[in-house]
Symmetry: C2
Subunit: 369 residues, 2 copies
């Protein structure tokens, strides 16, 4: 696996270190992001899949615009407040799926307000959620499309069997204010065969009783290039692919040079020959491990392990001499890009065509409701 | 260990669930926080220790006010931008210690601006940091107090030996624009004996060469009630004690009823008899484990393990029936309170004397620079 050569302080295309933001800072290379968008869209186009990117990774209306311009059919959000932030920043977004059980009066009211602004669909995995949606939308000007969430092995949300999916699909279809929108799953990585089996069986049951399954939505970046191995899928949701991260390099889904998001940090202490401390801790890199050892990859220094994070300190250790001086800068590919963009008010966007770094406020940061 | 009885939806003192914020939300019980402040201040007063609370836990000017009113001598911040936010919100703060190596021109400029507004001290653990501070403050109206950070076993920052502390103390004293302010350490939990040995030896060396050691600052909530076991200490820094968390209950430092901060979450799915999914994931509870199993404690339900977090989903599992329905609310004591307040724009403050929940914007949230 190739990677840019030893410690990179200044991203390519920048005139000098003088224009770098104060550290720690999250940098996004827009050229790489554009290339990542193109790559997955091309795959989807080749295999007749519709692409509906998940905005959880970037949380940025302008990145959603790039994804839609490349050919995406709409966007995916997890929470209502994320959807609100995206529509606020990019009102031209026309089609939005919220892959979450919406529960409770105040959220249902906000969902109704969203439905007046965009072609909206949501998911449900229980009669309780369906009944809440129906009560809210019974008097709405247009029915809400509801997909049945199916558990194809991730054991998070979702109905457990095709028979349950069938029952819930018909309950949706029979509920005032709702239309049955199809099937949705968040599969385990490499779960294409299970997606094909579960969704195929559910679709057959549902259609045998006279109800069309318009959409079968699957997702996940790690095995996105195998999405076509579950040909029952009509739409695909992926988020992390736009930036990539260390977890995806570790899975072989991309290379270091495909990682658009890096954390720029400064060495503040070199207290021992094999140890350096940087000014990025868990409040920047987060404690997400995703099964990996260490909290990120220092570009150009595969010998280094980030073995410990405090909130504002990252500890870099090496069996060799660490070779840094106080004031040196490093760039780190984090384990998990999505959670890193949630830690900062702005990411700093670089591109070859622009000689300066542009701060992009992270519009949907902290939108957890 | 006692704890409030089975699932608590509404904190004590609130009139009804109707006034609860949309979930997930971070609740802070102000009565418990006040009691926690009083408890540590009483300990410090009894043992002749000055208390300098770390604001990293609450990030709130109004909480700092409560700590100062109770008798704290000043506050501790980790980053310059945190100090700026605290002074912006509570300009009456008179004494502020930044326990961080400040490196680089732009940060040194901001440090000089801070020094004009407050009695300021910082730390250093290398000649490089000291020389940078001196270059910045050589022309300042008043000298900057710099404490030597010492590594008493946490192996993060800090000089490694009392002899090195002595050398750096004298370098500070000889540097234009600086005065030697004393010694500081972030000890390992239970490291009182090492603090006493290291700091005692360093103080003896430094004073033998004619330089006074005005302050010896140690810290950490887990063993704060043993701070007096290192009698060389003159000042103590603690942060988490104001809210407490699951990690501190696990260490025996407090009980569940001393936990002022909880995460209010809603059950959105009960897909299997022993499993429920809540709307709080790693974007609220964070992935911090602090050596524990699971991502938090569901109040009143010691049988439940929060065994998996996605960004917006928390998975609750139990060997017994989980016993929740969609729409139920739970309160969770997170593993680590400090990082949770960094995830939200506001915490929701409850107190017995007030019948409503008040949102307090987290002034220093995301202040990582």
């Amino acid at each position: 696996m190739t990677e840019p050569s030893a410690p990179i302080a200044v991203p390519a295309g920048l005139p000098s270190a003088g224009s770098l933001p104060s550290t720690p800072a999250v940098l996004v290379d827009l050229d790489i992001a554009r290339r990542n968008i193109r790559r997955l869209q091309d795959y989807a186009d080749t295999h007749g899949l519709k692409l509906r990117p998940h905005i959880k990774t970037h949380k940025l209306p302008d990145m959603a615009r790039l994804q839609l311009a490349a050919g995406a059919v709409g966007i995916t959000c997890q929470k209502i407040s994320e959807a609100e932030a995206m529509l606020e920043g990019a009102p031209e977004i026309a089609d939005l799926l919220i892959t979450y059980n919406i529960v409770g009066t105040s959220k249902l009211d906000r969902l109704k307000a969203l439905a007046r602004r965009v072609r909206l669909s949501v998911v449900a995995d229980s009669a309780a959620v369906v009944d809440g949606l129906s009560a809210a939308f019974a008097d709405a000007p247009a029915p809400l499309a509801v997909l049945v969430e199916c558990d194809t092995g991730a054991h998070r949300c979702g109905v457990a069997t095709p028979a349950e999916a069938n029952r819930l699909a018909h309950r949706i279809a029979a509920s005032p204010g709702l239309v049955f929108g199809g099937l949705m799953t968040y599969p385990p990585a490499g779960g294409e065969a299970r997606v094909e089996a579960f969704m195929g069986a559910a679709k057959a049951l549902i259609e045998a009783e006279g109800l069309a399954v318009a959409v079968i939505s699957s997702g996940g970046t790690p095995t996105m290039m195998d999405a076509a191995h579950a040909p029952v899928t009509t739409e695909y949701r992926a988020g992390t692919y736009i930036y990539n991260d260390r977890s995806l390099v570790a899975r072989g889904a991309c290379a270091w040079e495909d990682c658009a998001l890096t954390v720029l940090a400064t060495v503040v202490s070199v207290p021992a020959p094999g140890r350096a401390i940087i000014d990025a801790g868990s409040k920047t890199l987060t404690s997400d491990l995703l099964g990996l050892t260490g909290y990120g990859h220092v570009l150009g220094r595969p010998d280094i392990v980030i073995d410990q994070l405090s909130e504002e300190h990252g500890r870099l250790v090496s069996e060799d001499a660490i070779g840094f001086a106080v004031g040196d800068t490093v760039r780190i590919v984090p384990n998990h890009a999505c959670v890193v963009t949630n830690m900062v008010d702005a990411v700093h966007v670089v591109q070859d065509a622009e000689p300066r770094i542009a701060p992009w406020p992270v519009a949907a940061r902290g939108r957890i409701v």
